[in-house]
Amino acid sequence: MKKAKSIITGITVLAVSLISMIPFWLMFSMSTYQSEMIFQNNPLIPSNYFMENVKTIFSSNFSRAYLNSFIISISAMLFSTLICAMVGYAMNVYHFKAKRIFYTLIMMTMMVPTQIGIIGYMIEMRNVHLNNTLLPLIFVWLASGLGAYWMISFVQSSLPLELVESARIDGATEFRIFFRIAMPCIIPGLLTLCLLQFLWSWNSYMYPLVFVNKKENYTIPIFVKSLASAFRTDYGAQLCGLTLSTIPILILFSIGSKNFIKGLTAGAVKG
């Protein structure tokens, strides 16, 4: 009886996993087809046109779009993680009167939907003549409320304050303490936040849609959209580009899936 139950559970789990994998598999499988052939065959079975599609997209400057996406995501990831780590450090190591106010402010920044300010942001960036650069796509990720909140709780749980105290007695400067002592203690937390920030900026669609208006600044989503034209939409090539764009996420996720899930669930489970 018990065995039968666990077999049924196993089968259900397997079936559900298959369903949630199908669109993912379709993306990969369809990217191995020539566009005209996709809809004449069973697209669940891969074909042999993948390298041709790769050639097609790289001949229309896919590498530039890929590089742009990387520049944006890596910068957003590094700087926002550093900025949030600094907040986490300050909120735990120092005692100051306005601490509660700052904490409330950070909680509020978590709730502010930044997309809503996109029109104002566009005009602001246009007025400082940055709207034709990649910078607006990076800037918008820098102050992450969720990231700051996550770093505050992570520093609290993994940085022993005695270490900071003894370093101070030894005469180390505050920045030295932060980089040499605090940072190594909170590496797992930093990695989690890096993964999240990379994912968010890499998959971002609306900001590039508003800010990218010339070919040199294409990010992957905009590049893929540009493959659709009035004459012919090269579906095979589009899906090939998307498959290739998923690879960095998959690599990062398979390396750090535990950290990643821990970071995502931190806010909810503590709640």
Binding site: T9, M30, I116, A268
Partner: protein, 302 residues
């Protein structure tokens, strides 16, 4: 002298460490929103002369603009079908996985993949599945001798397809959240219940579910905020369509954000009016957030 120096340092250092965050937040997140508030009082296309019109944009939204309210209803319709289903499914699969002894983290990772997939890819793939003539599902229906259905081109089906996208994308995420919540429930509770002779169904409803309340609250709040900002899913389902329809068939998939995006950056830009829409949306989300924070904090005190 020494004491004074130490005090000075304690006063200034935290400010230096906090400054980058708050400066960036002000420059790139808060100021744009404040500027949008200012713009919402203008009649302005973004390039011509600004004309101050006071609250006229807001009055128009609340009294004349049927499309805005249609977009609110669309958003609610898509979201209120999608998210609750994803949440119940996520909870159910979490309960299933939780009792699984082997391969737990393998299946968890597998089901989490949709959440990290680029939305652009999701939009395209869903077009390929549900398209009327070449879509996989319709070819299957036709192959079985049935009548093909125009899922994406008709107003009664298209919003449902977006709901399905939401379900597909978020079920694994909700499942992961619930799994983490279940792991945090102490084993003693279950052991005590077993000694008292409780069935596993009773355990689920009397122990598991009440202990997941904080996770559920968190998910409901974040999903609601996310729902009101929905844009990618709806917009991407129609990007590859030859006719560049805004909002899908009969604008049934025009979400609030898509509507204001189109007003601001479309062929006939009305930056001021679109900003007013954004501000109304901001108000809606603020109310939801405040209620949500109350609920979450209330839980903490109890």
């Amino acid at each position: 002298m020494m004491i004074k120096k130490a005090r000075n340092r304690d006063y200034i250092s935290p400010l230096i460490f906090m400054a980058p965050f708050f400066i960036c937040f002000f420059l790139f997140n808060l100021f744009p929103i404040l500027y949008s508030f200012y713009m919402s009082t203008l009649n302005w296309a973004g390039y011509n002369q600004k004309v101050f019109v006071g609250l006229k944009n807001y009055i128009d939204i609340f009294t004349k603009d049927k499309i805005f309210w249609k977009s609110v209803l669309n958003t609610l319709r898509i979201g209120l079908v999608g998210f609750p289903v994803a949440m119940v499914l996520g909870l159910a699969f979490a309960a299933l996985l939780f009792n699984l002894k082997k391969f737990k983290s393998f299946f968890q990772t597998l089901n989490f993949l949709p959440y990290i997939t680029t939305p652009v890819a999701i939009g395209m793939i869903f077009t390929f599945i549900f398209e009327q003539h070449i879509g996989i599902l319709n070819r299957l229906i036709a192959g079985l001798g049935g009548q093909t259905i125009n899922f994406i081109g008709t107003a009664q089906w298209a919003p449902l397809i977006i709901s399905i996208m939401i379900i597909w994308r978020n079920t694994g995420y909700f499942m992961t959240m619930y799994l983490a919540g279940m792991t945090a429930i102490p084993d003693e509770l279950y052991e005590a219940a077993k000694i008292d002779g409780a069935s596993s169904t009773q355990c689920f409803f009397k122990i598991t579910l009440p202990n997941l309340k904080s996770v559920t609250t968190f998910l409901v709040i974040t999903s609601t905020i996310y729902m009101f900002q929905m844009f990618d899913e709806a917009n991407l389902l129609f990007t590859n369509q030859s006719s560049s329809t805004v909002g899908g068939p009969q604008q049934s998939c025009l979400t609030i954000v898509w509507n204001f995006y189109n007003q601001a950056f479309g062929s006939n830009p009305r930056m001021g009016y679109a900003s007013a829409m954004a501000c109304v949306l901001f108000g809606i989300i603020a109310v939801v957030s405040v209620i949500g924070l109350r609920l979450m904090n209330g839980k903490e005190e109890a």
